[in-house]
Amino acid sequence: MSARVVVDPITRIEGHLRIEAQMNGGIIEQAYSSGTSVRGLETIVQGRDPREVWAFVQRICGVCTLVHGIAGVRAVEDALDYKIPPNAELIRNLMIGSQYVHDHVMHFYHLHALDWVDLLGSLQADPKKTSELAQSIGTYAKTSPGYFADVQKRLKGFVEAGQLGIFANGYWGHPAYKLPPEANLMAVAHYLDALAWQRNVAELHAIFGGKNPHPNLCVGGMPCAISLESGKQAGTALDVVGLERVRNIIEQMHDFVHQVYVPDTIAIASFYKDWFQKGEGVGNFMTYGDFPAKGYGDPESYLIPTGVILNRDLSHIEPVDLDAEAEIQEFVAHAWYDYKAGKDAGLHPYQGETTFAYTGPEPPYQQLDVENQYSWLKTPRWKGKPMEVGPLARMLMLYANGNEQAKTLVDSTLQQLDLPIEALYSTMGRTAARTLETALIVDELQGWYDNLVANIKSGDVKTFNETLWDPETWPKKAQGVGRMEAPRGALGHWIVIEDGKVANYQAVVPSTWNAGPRDAQEQEGPYEAALAGHALHDPQQPIEILRTVHSFDPCIACAVHISDPDGEEVLNVQVQ
């Protein structure tokens, strides 16, 4: 029997994502991924002062807040060959690193966990046994029976009140939930703890950037001057007290990741080993690299290396050139845009065009026209090939490059779960890679902090390079790319500057790589490829789709592009 299963909205993600699955006898034959909302940020920054573009493009996303701002300032700095002081690089590394930790933990507990954890199942748990379970897997301080009994009591009261709120209509009791009641209760307790924890660790961004979400940055360094005045009112938040608070937050991050997040991931994964065998995706992986040790201009010094892995072959890494016109291109064959050169053309971001050409059904609609165009996401390709980006790609790249810590983390986890390395190419492999990457990054934070403090002690308090601040000093025309590894994967912002203004701007973001529609050759994107072949136990409760889509950590506001100044809107819809 052929039927279409539609899941819209996909919740517990950022943005507006729709999945349509063409079924064949309970199995997904073809999956279609659609971004259903656009705003137009790339158009909006045209003609503006390149120094302020970071503030606009940072609003691409408030979940992976910061990262588009970083890509935005790096794009301008790359175009102008604008060097930033070592302290600014260290502060940016601290902010990006802590963004990974914050984002990945929240993804695991607040966006992804309920795919594996049966909230109502936790009501049957024995708090004493839950305590024993928690003590057997980690060293977290909160493991007493009383702690779990208290959480269970609160939850019970909440459920009995009959208003489930955000937990209403979940697929509770679905046979796909495999955790024993005690593991469910432990995870629910940590769901709540992580909510409180994230509130505290976000303070790190506020000290350097004034607030979180959407901390402030600047082209040429960082705007947070280091103030060593103490004993009277400090000049800035980055004084002795602020620095000590940063150190303390790093400690809190480290403890939660190692004592709670890592053990919980492994414990939950051990009940879902079948999910290490499905949901692979396209088998190609790409990273742009990040965390410079010797400056943005020296990719060799990055903690996370750059490269492409094809067909799972970890023995060979292809180089990636973000400036090469034939490497990274975006296609619109199945997206609601037109190109001057036709629907089948591919354009490098420097030449990017984004002209609206909506051909989908007028809302309200039941189904998209998946044979033709079906998404506001474009289709990025590297040398014509689909690429998966994100934590799994990064861990594989580190592993293939022989990074000792990555090898230890991956090998010991696989050994604990008694799984081969091929298990990584899967839904649960992707989720586990995100956790292991967090463990790796959280261990780097202290080093960056120590270097920053050492510089300050030695008298170097420089955080900003003013030499190229004045647009009068710039060449008439310049172009550059701001690359980074955002929590969700390889992120690039390409800018063309003319006469001190933005002449073109294109962002190609992680979720566009992962969630984009098919290309002109009908090659599926990673979401689509990963979902194909999934069996749905109950099409009315498609929890299997959620598990695999959430394993990518979708960020759809990020992924959608909009028109450039040459773009014409070709469709004119009358407002009712």
Partner: protein, 354 residues
Amino acid sequence: MPHEPTFGGLLQSQGISRRAFLKFCSTTASLMALPAGIAPAMAEALASARRPSVIWLSFQECTGCTEALTRSSAPSIEALMFNFISLDYHHTLQAASGDAAEHAREQAQHENAGKYLVLVDGSVPLDEHCSTVAGISNLAMLKEACANAAAVINIGTCSAYGGIPMAKPNPTRAVAVGDIIKDKPIVNVPGCPPMPLAITGVIAQYLTLGRLPELDHLGRPVAFFGENIHDRCYRRPFYDRGEFAETFDDEGARKGWCLYKLGCKAPIAYNACAHIKWNNGVSFPIQSGHGCLGCSEPRFWDIGGVYESVATGNFGDSAKLGAAAVAGAAAGVGAAVLARRKKTELAAHEHSSD
């Protein structure tokens, strides 16, 4: 249908003492500038209530406003969801997806007709195909959800005033919620994102007192948006003395001198950043060295460059203020005079409505 327990019973079952609850009420009362004696009455009102239904609609947004909500510590997101409201529809947090999620929304609208709150983040495109959820345009979903709502609270500058999607050239013909919904009480809680306390404070006041807060001429709660950031800024004395940072890390920048010359928009921005501060009070944008973007003001993305001083930018309706700031820059009085006048007007307004 399960029996509907009272709020007081819930508190008891969840181990929250009456004393702790009263403390929350009095904190809320003081934040919202309500008489201190009102706390017991608030507690009384809440103790007999079923948790009010809240439907959170996400349109052209970046989820930064939801993230801001999760950063709130008074009350925390946990306390809010478990104790004070029933968050029946919220894309980022809710367990259910697809049809099950839409049913949750429809059910909440049906069961709580006339009583539920609609919270919105994100602007609404008049080009309806530019943003859909469940195949329904944002415009249609907004109208449907608001039809039986008690009130609408716009969370963030995008839903309040159009925000970044509406910035020139407004490629999707985005508008604010207030441009569409005309027959419901609307509160704007702007900011990019708003201060967490402003979000939860407005909700808490509505829940405890059953009415919406006092608003300014832009629909914002006076309690959080009644004061000028420049007036409340710890760097204000340097402005008054004419001591300005010239770059982001010169001596003045390190000493905390005024960021006016680096484009700080505090003189035209009304928000609580300078006195409540962000993220458990550790800092706010100016304290971390960058000028205020003025993100609680309508059209702030188009009111002049981020690094242009307020006197030289194109500040539209605020031109008078900008000119005054220029004239008074040496003595540092211009913006302050205007801001104070505005404050006085608001105070008078507040008084007359008592």
